[in-house]
Structures are given as structure tokens and as C-alpha cells.
């Protein structure tokens, strides 16, 4: 039934992807990229992947735009003229042809007898109600069946944020001159651009708390509907970033200090891993939540999933806000000292 809709949205998607590649003005490309992300979230919904669409929506609507734009503010918003090169086109066509040839053996789209649906998925779906009593199967698989994967992914988020911190927070011994001071410097610069837009300020004071409230809802309602730690973290971070954009970094720093975020970033992963260790102490295996409650295995699993999702949410929130801190703080530091040729000055 959704077949024609999918086809049309796919067409839009390809058009926007081509435009992203083609547009030489990187700012325009960033805008079109936002549209691309909206379209892909729509497609995920049509393909039944509501949780994926939810994440894409939360990430694509706010954070990724902010990220690309703050990079553009630090670099050049225009791309150089460049002719089409034929060797890459040939390579790409070759790869594409090979992949199309590879799909010929694949089961058709939506085929219920495809091998992917035969192995573990039925057990997961079966277990959702009997083992967990949690209607959102994705949450079960995320936090419990595939708990190791998710722990790894959360750690990757932590690691990437630490990488950003090392790259943009300062070089070498720049801990002294690191994030705190860069953000400090931002405080003097920041209030200028936005304070003339009274309306944005007023509406942000109304909307930011609502976004946070909704983030909490997503965090704790993730067992029953689409949502969970990853989405909630991104939504929560968007509220804080919105505040930072409108009222300036120094104001955001008064709300959450970078130091606090750094602690939270690590604490989230620790909560996750700690839940696993706690189950070890209760004679279970790592990340086996059933032993967390003596009386009912189902309650134990509920508790474990709640804790794990909380850890994920905390880490993701702190990671996103910290990334914003470093990118935006870099901009202020740069405009302070325009001679940024010196490699040693952080």
C-alpha cells in the first residue's frame, strides 16, 4: 500500500543527494542535507523502522545542522570550482554494477521467508512479552539481547567525543588553556549575534523546557513506544544547544559547565558497564539483568534496561553538548585572534 509513496520519496531522496554533491555553496548544501535527512526519516517510517526514524529525526533536525554550520563558520563556506573527473566516475560505476549484480541473488524486498527473518528475530519477538513484558521489541534487543553491542556503541560515542576534545579543546599541555578558557573567551563575544532577535529569545525560554520535558518522556517511555536513551539524549542535548545558540555560550556554561559534562560523559558509560558488573556480583553473567531482582526475573530485566538506557541517555546528552561547546568555543577563540596561522597556539 505504501509502495508508490516510497517510490516518490526515494526519488526526492536521490534528487537531494545529487544536489548535495552538486551545490558549490556549502551552506546551501547543508540546507539541502537537512532536507535529505528529513526524507530519510520519512522513509524509515514507511519501512516500519520507527525507532530508526525517531533517531534520524532527532539527530537530523537539530544536531547535524548545527555541527555542519559551526564547521562552516570555522572554515570556508564555498567550494572551489572543480571539473568532473572520469576515473572516479568509472570506479563508482564499477562498484555500483558489482553491487547490483550482488543483489540479484538476494531475497526480494519484504520476503517473509528471507534468511534474515529465520534465525534470531523470531526468538526476540517471542521473548518480548514472555521474558520482558516490554512492548517495544527494539528496546529489548538494544538493551538486553544485544547489550554488548550497545555498550560498545556507547563507548564509541565517548571515544569520539574525547577525540573532538583533544582536537579542538587545545593541544598538548593546553589543559590550562583548554575548554574552560576558550568558553570563557566565547562569553565576551557571544551575546552579539542573537540579542537583537527578541522573538527568538522569548520563544526559546518557552520551548527549551518543553523540549527537555519531551526528552524525559522519550527516555522513560521508550519501553512502550519508540524512544530510548539514544533518542532522548539527542533531544535533551538539542534543548541545551538551542539555549547555547540563542543566549550565548557563557550562559549555557552557567547552566551546565563543560567539566560537569565531561564527568557525565564518563559516568553514563560507567552506569552501563556497572549494571553489567552488578549482575556479575549476583551470580549472573555480564549484562544479564534477570538476577538483579531476587523475586522476579522480569522485574530484574526491567530494572536493568532502565539503568542501561539511563546510562546511554546521559552519555549521549553530554557528548552532544560537549561537541557543541568545542565547536562553538573554537569559533569565538578564532575570531579573537585572527592570526591563526601559528600551529602551536591552540
Amino acid at each position: 500500500m505504501t509502495f508508490p509513496i516510497e517510490a516518490i520519496v526515494f526519488l526526492f531522496l536521490l534528487a537531494t543527494a545529487l544536489a548535495v554533491t552538486h551545490l558549490r555553496d556549502l551552506f546551501a548544501a547543508a540546507m539541502v542535507f537537512g532536507v535529505f535527512s528529513l526524507l530519510s526519516a520519512g522513509l524509515f517510517t514507511l519501512m516500519d523502522a520507527v525507532d530508526v526514524a525517531f533517531t534520524e529525526a532527532a539527530v537530523g533536525a537539530g544536531i547535524s545542522t548545527v555541527l555542519i554550520l559551526s564547521t562552516l563558520a570555522l572554515t570556508d563556506p564555498r567550494e572551489h570550482q572543480q571539473p568532473v573527473r572520469f576515473a572516479p566516475v568509472a570506479v563508482v560505476l564499477l562498484v555500483g554494477a558489482a553491487l547490483v549484480y550482488g543483489t540479484l541473488d538476494m531475497p526480494y524486498y519484504g520476503d517473509p521467508t528471507a534468511p534474515i527473518h529465520k534465525h534470531v528475530a523470531p526468538e526476540y519477538i517471542e521473548g518480548a512479552m514472555t521474558d520482558f513484558g516490554i512492548p517495544n521489541i527494539v528496546t529489548n534487543v538494544l538493551a538486553s539481547y544485544r547489550g554488548y553491542d550497545t555498550l560498545g556503541e556507547t563507548t564509541v560515542v565517548l571515544t569520539a567525543t574525547v577525540g573532538v576534545m583533544l582536537l579542538l579543546g587545545g593541544l598538548g599541555g593546553a589543559r590550562h588553556r583548554g575548554d574552560a578558557e576558550v568558553v570563557e573567551a566565547a562569553g565576551d563575544e557571544e551575546p552579539t549575534p542573537m540579542d537583537r532577535v527578541q522573538v527568538a529569545r522569548v520563544s526559546t525560554t518557552v520551548l527549551a523546557p518543553l523540549i527537555m520535558l519531551f526528552g524525559l518522556y522519550v527516555q522513560f517511555h521508550g519501553d512502550f513506544g519508540p524512544g530510548g536513551g539514544f533518542q532522548a539524549g539527542v533531544i535533551f542535548a538539542s534543548a541545551l544547544i538551542l539555549h547555547g545558540i540563542v543566549f550565548g555560550l557563557s550562559s549555557l556554561k552557567r547552566v551546565v559547565s563543560p567539566r560537569f559534562l565531561e564527568i557525565g560523559l564518563a559516568a553514563g558509560v560507567l552506569i552501563y558497564a556497572g549494571t553489567g558488573v552488578a549482575s556479575l556480583f549476583r551470580d549472573g553473567t555480564f549484562l544479564d539483568y534477570a538476577v538483579l531482582d531476587h523475586h522476579s526475573a522480569q522485574h530484574g530485566r526491567h530494572l536493568g534496561i532502565l539503568l542501561v538506557e539511563a546510562g546511554v541517555g546521559i552519555t549521549v546528552t553530554c557528548a552532544m553538548v560537549l561537541i557543541f561547546f568545542f565547536f562553538a568555543g573554537r569559533r569565538a577563540a578564532k575570531s579573537e585572534e585572527p592570526g591563526d596561522r601559528d600551529r602551536r597556539v591552540a
Binding site: V197, Q198, L207, L210
Partner: protein
């Protein structure tokens, strides 16, 4: 009652979709940024509003309907704000309304448009825009 709800949501959905299309045509065909904003923001409120209310009627009185109405409330709140901020940013960037430009034979960019017949009005409109800001 059921029939009434069916008819009402048909009307709202089709009407809302119609308004969206009209606004999008405006977005595509209007001569300058300010009139395009006019067309676009109207679809965001009226078109989206009608579609959402139509869907909420179909959902019946439950949480889904409430959420749809909340979506509508947020849209009614954010879309004028971003529209205002956008136009203000454009204005401070020196983007002129099409009608603001005094008739200049070299500057006929859009041939299929009918002649701009009221340039004097627009000068007043520009001052008005100054008052509106802030």
C-alpha cells in the same frame, strides 16, 4: 455522529492538503523572498493545522489525538517565530522586496511576471517594515 466525523475529516484533510499545495505553488512562483515567505508561512499554519485536526478527528479521543494537537500547538508557535526571524535576517542582509526596486529597464529579471504596477506603495511598505522589526 460517525458520519459527521468522517465528513469533517475528509473536508479537513482534503482542504488542508489543498492549502498546502496552494502555498507551495506560491513558494515557487512568487517573485521575491518576502512574498514567498508569506505563501510558505500560511501553509505552515492553516494547511498543517487542517490536516492535523483532520487526523486527530480520525484518531478519536485518545493520547494520539492529544499529541497531534500538541504538534499543531508547537507548529503554531514555532513557524511564525522562525518566519519572523528569517525575514528579519534577510532584511538586515539588504535583500530588497521586488516591489521596492524602482522601475529600472535593466533590471527586468523575471519576464513572465505581469508588470509591477505600484512601486510607490512599496516605498511606504519598506518604512512599515522598519517599524515592525523589534
Amino acid at each position: 455522529m460517525v458520519l459527521f466525523i468522517e465528513i469533517a475529516s475528509w473536508l479537513l484533510l482534503v482542504g488542508g492538503a489543498g492549502f498546502c499545495i496552494v502555498g507551495a505553488i506560491g513558494l515557487l512562483r512568487m517573485p521575491d523572498l518576502y512574498s514567498r515567505t508569506h505563501a510558505a508561512t500560511i501553509t505552515d499554519t492553516l494547511g498543517a493545522g487542517m490536516v492535523l485536526v483532520g487526523l486527530a478527528l480520525q484518531a478519536g479521543p485518545n493520547l494520539t489525538a492529544l499529541k497531534l494537537l500538541m504538534v499543531l500547538a508547537f507548529l503554531l508557535y514555532t513557524s511564525p517565530v522562525s518566519g519572523h526571524a528569517l525575514v528579519k535576517a534577510a532584511y538586515s542582509h539588504g535583500i530588497k522586496a521586488e516591489l521596492d526596486v524602482p522601475i529600472d529597464p535593466q533590471q527586468v529579471q523575471i519576464p513572465e511576471r505581469p508588470a509591477r504596477d505600484a512601486p510607490t506603495d512599496s516605498a511606504r511598505g519598506k518604512e512599515g517594515a522598519d517599524d515592525v522589526s523589534d
